[in-house]
């Protein structure tokens, strides 16, 4: 039995070896061939009108979790790919937060602000060829609610979705929600699809809403369709010929979304021209090293992202407001912005970024480095000899130096800072412990507003968020202000209430607000049409991109 087996192996081995040799020798001829054929193709592109498909190569740092908009709503988890396939009813058009039509051509609210009526665009097709209409909107809502996936939270205030006619749909709320339209349009907006017909066709068991299928398939109305997905390697999108906006003007025909986990590698590939755009946030340290490279565009835009430290207000010594203030006064903000953020950030004086209303009130307490005052505050609180604090921070590259700056600043007042850096899920488990049980003295993470409304960032100071990320701060008084602000449509009143909350926060100092960071997108000069909208942080509008004047 043994010998024949060995023999077949012995005979196949040389065969395989031979195949290698043949293939390699073919390559040496073919290699020249391919270079000679691709080179002119590239050069004609630059001189004459582009012929053949235009391909864009972008990088991303991980494999998406899921392409199903009902299931995955995070940037980094798949949302940045989903936006190539799926669209929202309304969009945020520019950095000011102005709403503009998407799949809905127009919309209006009832006087009691409980019913929103949307007029849908006609002639929009899903990628499976079926038509997008009011039924599809209702179906999307039903599917998300039935799957109880991550997207269900955004439909929380929605009581019903009513089909009025094929192109008119009403969304009925159970309570007034001043930020509802913004939520619909924002980054974590509500994406329409997959198409009802495709869902029905791909259910493994009737009624499972094809949740398995749509993890790695799609059927949206967006500009691109998914061609292939090789896990941990790349996703390929190709244009959907029947896209309702049409394909006039400059667009790309094919997008290769490469997964490059190592930011330094992504940078090298970009510099060598192997990729056109590094489409997710590269660490600022990496970006900064490309600033002198004429072949790379660094597009800088203000974001709504805050970098902050929060205090555990239930644990000594940070339960003492004087200690918290002293730490806020010890921190060297300017060095942090120059050093950790390499200048790609702006000082912020309160719990809200400057791009979101209301502005931080003039009379609010502001903290700048003042070591003497800090020391006297600490002495007053009885901590002249210092103490040890535990900081749990998020493992972001530039936070490492940020924490070390704080460490050094605090040492001036004999405060020892133990720094522990973890990934988000691990940090999160600590943050969401109930009041009084949080296992840290200070925490650090970033926070952003994904809709042009303060509710998105100030709601975390509500006591109901203590089991989420609020470090234990808040009273029934501040809760009431936040609740009231979120249940009235009176803009002036909301502004007044939110300003009061900000005043309170600055006064009580449950956190140190360090900076609002800039978003820097890096790409090749031949890439055109990129625009950053803060509320779509991390998402690229693939349809608007084009490649012009790329040399091969």
């Amino acid at each position: 039995m043994k010998t024949p087996k060995a023999k077949t192996w012995l005979t196949t081995l040389p065969l395989v070896a031979l195949a290698f040799v043949v293939a390699l020798s073919l390559a040496s001829c073919a290699g020249e061939e391919t270079t000679t054929t691709t080179a002119p193709a590239g050069s004609t592109e630059t001189t004459a009108a582009p012929t053949g498909p235009v391909t864009l190569v972008a990088t991303r740092n991980n494999d998406p979790n899921s392409l199903d908009p009902a299931d995955e709503v995070t940037v980094g988890g798949g949302l940045e790919s989903q936006v190539a396939f799926y669209e929202r009813l309304i969009n945020i058009g520019d950095p000011s937060g102005e709403l503009e039509p998407g799949l809905a051509e127009s919309w209006d609210a009832s006087p009691d602000a409980l019913t929103y009526t949307f007029k849908l665009r006609q002639g929009v097709k899903f990628h499976d060829g079926t038509e997008f209409n009011a039924d599809a909107v209702r179906f999307t809502w039903q599917r998300i609610m039935a799957l109880e996936g991550a997207a269900a939270q955004y439909w929380q205030p929605v009581k019903d979705v009513v089909v009025v006619d094929p192109y008119t749909v009403q969304i009925v709320l159970s309570q007034v929600s001043p930020s509802f339209l913004a939520t619909l349009a924002g980054q974590r907006g509500i994406y329409m699809g997959p198409s009802p017909a495709a869902v029905k066709a791909n259910e493994t068991t009737p009624g499972d809403w094809a949740k398995d299928y749509f993890r790695d398939h799609e059927s949206g109305t967006g500009p691109y369709t998914l061609t292939s997905w090789t896990h941990d390697q790349e996703l390929v999108y190709e244009k959907f010929p029947e896209y309702w906006r049409g394909w006039d003007g400059e667009h790309v025909d094919k997008i290769i979304h490469r997964i490059v986990k190592e930011p330094a590698t992504a940078r090298l590939m970009l510099e060598k021209g192997e990729v056109d755009i590094a489409a997710d946030d590269l660490p600022i340290e990496i970006v900064d090293q490309m600033k002198d490279n004429p072949d790379i565009v660094l597009k800088r835009d203000p974001t709504t992202t805050l970098t902050q430290f929060t205090f555990n207000v239930d644990k000594k010594p940070t339960s003492d407001v004087r200690v918290r203030k002293a730490i806020a006064l010890l921190f060297d903000y300017d060095t942090a912005i120059e050093g950790s953020f390499k200048g790609y950030a702006k000082r912020v004086y309160g719990p809200i970024p400057s791009s979101v209303w209301p502005p931080i009130p003039e009379e609010a307490v502001k903290y700048n480095r003042n070591v003497e005052e800090a020391k006297s505050l600490l002495a007053e609180a009885g901590y002249a000899d210092g103490f040890t604090l535990k900081l749990s921070g998020m493992d972001i590259l530039n936070y490492k130096s940020l924490f070390q700056i704080l460490q050094q600043n605090l040492a001036e007042a004999n405060i020892k800072l133990d720094v522990e850096m973890t990934t988000w899920p691990v940090l999160f488990e600590k943050l969401q412990k109930p009041k009084g049980e949080k296992p840290f003295d200070m925490a650090s993470y970033q926070m952003w507003a994904a809709i042009p409304d303060p509710v998105d960032i100030l709601m975390w100071w509500h006591t109901s968020a203590i089991t989420v990320i609020n470090p234990g701060w808040g009273t029934s008084e501040t809760d009431k202000m936040l609740d009231d602000a979120n249940s009235t449509m009176d803009q002036a009143e909301r502004e007044r209430l939110y300003s009061q909350v900000i005043m309170k926060l600055n006064d009580d100092c449950p956190g140190i607000w360090v900076a609002e960071v800039e978003h820097v997108m890096v790409y090749k000069p031949w890439l055109k049409g990129y625009e950053y909208i803060p509320y779509y942080h991390g998402l690229v509008n693939w349809y608007n991109l084009s490649i012009e004047g790329k040399e091969s």
Binding site: V22, L26, A150, Q153, K261, E262, A264, P425, V426, Q432
Partner: protein, 337 residues
């Protein structure tokens, strides 16, 4: 008969080890702090959503129940569903396995091509300059931090020389070879796709060499030790006394016999390389099991962490088993014990 009994007993011994492996992976991965349900839901999710997700993934059940469910699934070849990708862990793993196998095999072959000759040279010129040099080389190979070497390789061969790509498995402009075995080198060779073969080769070279260098130590040491041992055997001495040239004795008689133990440890090296590629895969964006393990750890994807560990442990234990059994068959002395 005795041999079969011994082999049978050795195979049976694997079962409790496997059970222990699942228990250990389960215990360790569940003591990693973190809340996977929250990780799925995202920071903005409210308590209800998180609760619903927790329930859906069975994360709200008692730990022993979760373990029971896990083992039950395992027996049926079901590693559970990835918290991160929501796909069966088995699918995620089998998608990445070919890439890792290809890299490990490539590195293994490199290791043999370099390690065995160096070991022979070392043994043949024992305590002379070639021996010292080769031992130094091997010692350096065992002392260099793999993660650092990977970075240096990128710096030199990509950044400065520009000879090789920095990472990934293929270039965008060259289509992946048609899928036969999933090993791109083999597939492109079999389909006589020269361009793809060159491309695959270029991509695998840096991670392959990096990975190989770390393992050369064992191979060379083993070859050297068994060569020395064989060279002292009586039949070798007899062959020399008979007047055969030293060269002939070394290459023809000693080498062949000395190779057996070296080959047997290759099986185990392969098992350990499946995971040794961990950091290398990460740095070179190699879409394999190591990358999957790394992401699942950062994302607290328990089921994938467990799945990958169990699969790696499985391969490891199996490789050990094969080595032990083949040893029993090859070596009559052990059989007799």
């Amino acid at each position: 008969m005795k041999l079969y009994y011994l082999i049978g007993r050795r195979i049976l011994q694997v079962i409790p080890v496997f059970l222990g492996v699942t228990l250990l992976t389960f215990a360790v991965s569940h003591s990693i702090p973190g809340d996977p349900a929250r990780a799925i839901a995202g920071i903005y999710a409210n308590e209800q959503t998180v609760e619903a997700i927790r329930h859906r993934w069975g994360l709200d059940r008692p730990v022993y129940e979760q373990y029971g469910i896990y083992v039950k699934g395992l027996v049926q070849g079901d590693l559970g569903v990835s918290i991160q990708s929501r796909r069966p862990v088995m699918d995620d793993i089998s998608d990445r396995l070919p890439a890792t196998i290809e890299l490990a095999l490539f590195a293994l072959i490199l290791m043999c091509l370099i390690g065995i000759p160096v070991g022979v040279v070392s043994a043949n010129w024992r305590n002379k300059l070639p021996d010292h040099l080769s031992r130094l080389f091997v010692l350096i190979g065992g002392a260099v931090p793999t993660f650092w070497l990977a970075l240096v390789a990128q710096l030199v061969f990509f950044r400065y020389l520009g000879w090789l790509p920095s990472g990934g498995r293929t270039s965008d402009m060259i289509a992946s070879p048609s899928h036969i075995s999933g090993l791109y080198l083999l597939d492109s060779a079999l389909t006589l796709n020269g361009a793809a073969l060159v491309d695959s080769l270029e991509h695998i070279l840096l991670p392959g060499i990096t990975l190989a260098l770390a393992g050369i130590t064992s191979i060379t040491r083993m070859t050297r030790a068994s060569m020395l041992e064989v060279l002292q055997r009586d039949y070798i001495k007899a062959a020399r006394a008979k007047g055969l040239s030293r060269r002939k004795v070394v290459l023809k008689h000693a080498f062949k016999n000395a190779l057996i133990p070296t080959v047997t440890i290759l099986g185990m090296m392969f098992g350990s390389m499946l995971s040794g590629a961990f950091v290398v895969e990460w740095i070179f964006s190699w879409p394999g099991l190591g990358s999957l393990a790394a992401t699942s750890i950062t994302n607290l994807d328990y089921t994938t962490i467990m799945g990958v560990s169990v699969v790696i442990a499985f391969v490891y234990v199996l490789a050990n088993l094969v080595v032990d059994v083949s040893y029993m068959i090859l070596n009559p002395r052990i059989r007799l014990e």
